[in-house]
């Protein structure tokens, strides 16, 4: 059983300069309480791994606006002009990764695979500096696994062991990221007693989750 922590207590675990994975897609399925706590704590020089940087003032966009990021590994920044501004000003280093490659590299980091072998990006500017692997006459890019110090996960419901259920498109990167970090913190909307979530409904088994964030009171 895990005694839920306050968002502030979780922020206190995160040193400046940490690598953090944050679930969500344009702010949907993003652990907002944790993000707010990271902003309040004035975190600096974080490396972000996420699908996108959302919009200014929304989800991960708040971390960008607060100047908490030094580097972002993402697939899309088009809807956050502040990310573009910081990138052009040389404040924020942005590595753009195709969405399918990004999620698969995070998965590889979580499931102990040595690399991702994908056709995506072959022959484009993304090939620069990367290994190309030939399998039965077809060529593929070799992409490296991605892991982080922390994964911050938004879930619809948890039990007090840490089993997680997700909701519709709020699922997105969350279950995969929950496998790929040294410390995994889940921010569920609800926490229910152990045994309430049926085994077939669990998408992230409790053993992957280190900490739960307390429910709003």
């Amino acid at each position: 059983m895990k005694k839920p922590l306050s968002p502030k207590a979780v922020a206190d675990l995160v040193p400046d300069g940490a690598r953090v994975m944050i679930g969500g897609f344009m702010g949907v399925g993003t652990p907002n309480k944790i993000i707010d706590a990271l902003v309040s704590a004035g975190k600096k020089d974080l490396t972000l791994i996420a699908n996108d940087t959302a919009l200014p003032g929304r989800g991960i966009g708040k971390l960008v606006s607060a100047g908490a990021l030094r580097r972002a590994v993402v697939s899309h920044i088009g809807l956050n002009p502040e990310t573009q501004r910081q990138m052009n000003a040389g404040i924020l280093e942005v590595e753009l990764v195709p969405q399918g490659t990004l999620i698969e590299c995070i998965r590889a980091g979580g499931v102990g695979l040595g690399a991702v072998v994908t056709p995506t990006g072959l022959g484009t500017v993304l090939e620069e500096g990367k290994q190309v692997l030939e399998i039965d006459g077809e060529k593929f890019l070799v992409e490296k696994p991605i892991r982080a110090d922390f994964a911050f996960i938004a879930a619809r419901q948890a039990d007090y062991l840490g089993n997680l259920e997700y909701s519709l498109t709020a699922q997105n990167f969350n279950p995969t990221m929950a496998m790929a970090a040294d410390t995994v913190v889940a921010e569920p909307e609800h926490i229910v007693p152990v045994g309430v979530i049926p085994p077939d409904a669990v998408r992230t088994p409790a053993s992957l989750v280190d900490h739960l964030i307390e429910r709003s009171t």
Binding site: M26, N51, S75, I77, E104, P119, V125
Partner: protein, 225 residues
Amino acid sequence: MQPKERIARRVAQEIAPGMLVNLGIGLPSLVAGFVPSDAGVFFQSENGVIGLGARPPEGMEEPDLTDAGGGFVTAVPGAAAIDSAMSFGLIRGGHIDLTVLGGLQVDERGLLANWMIPGAMVPGMGGAMDLATGARKVIVAMQHMANGKSKIVRTCDLPLTSTRPIDLLVTDLAVFEVTQSGLMVMEIAPDVTVGDVEASTEARFEVCGDLKCMDEIRPAIAEVQ
């Protein structure tokens, strides 16, 4: 007909019952409006849903159900929620029958550039590279010209999205098929001549002997397989 409406309406005719279709954000998303809701077509949104429905009525939005642009949507009966690994597994694995993408440039080999203008606009590729590489059929829906310049070029000078040629290009002026030898105009808009298309197109292209009007109503879409 407005240019964007003409493009979306024409692209919709490529969609058949039973298809699983991914529409890019922007112009491509307009295509859904020209597909009857009872046509048996399923729309995938790469953020994690198969069976995307229309925007919900005011006050009935679900914060956890959005499209890839973050806009509120609904789910049709038989919809499935999937995570991003599954979503891109479907895309890269060839399980998406058709994707409609926007374009910055298409060149005469049918290669697409649509994710950045170095030094000017760097939105990121999002899911476009996986879609352009993995979907069974790739259609680009875009305006023929931008800022008075042709977007259909000899060779893309913007970074490519994929080295795999697209299948079909639909603009406000014409419909191009990508063949072994390059672009071929199959249809042109009403009140537009082949000469007009040539004047607006940097790329070389062939013209189909049986040139049609792109506003022509085609026979009811046939069922997949």
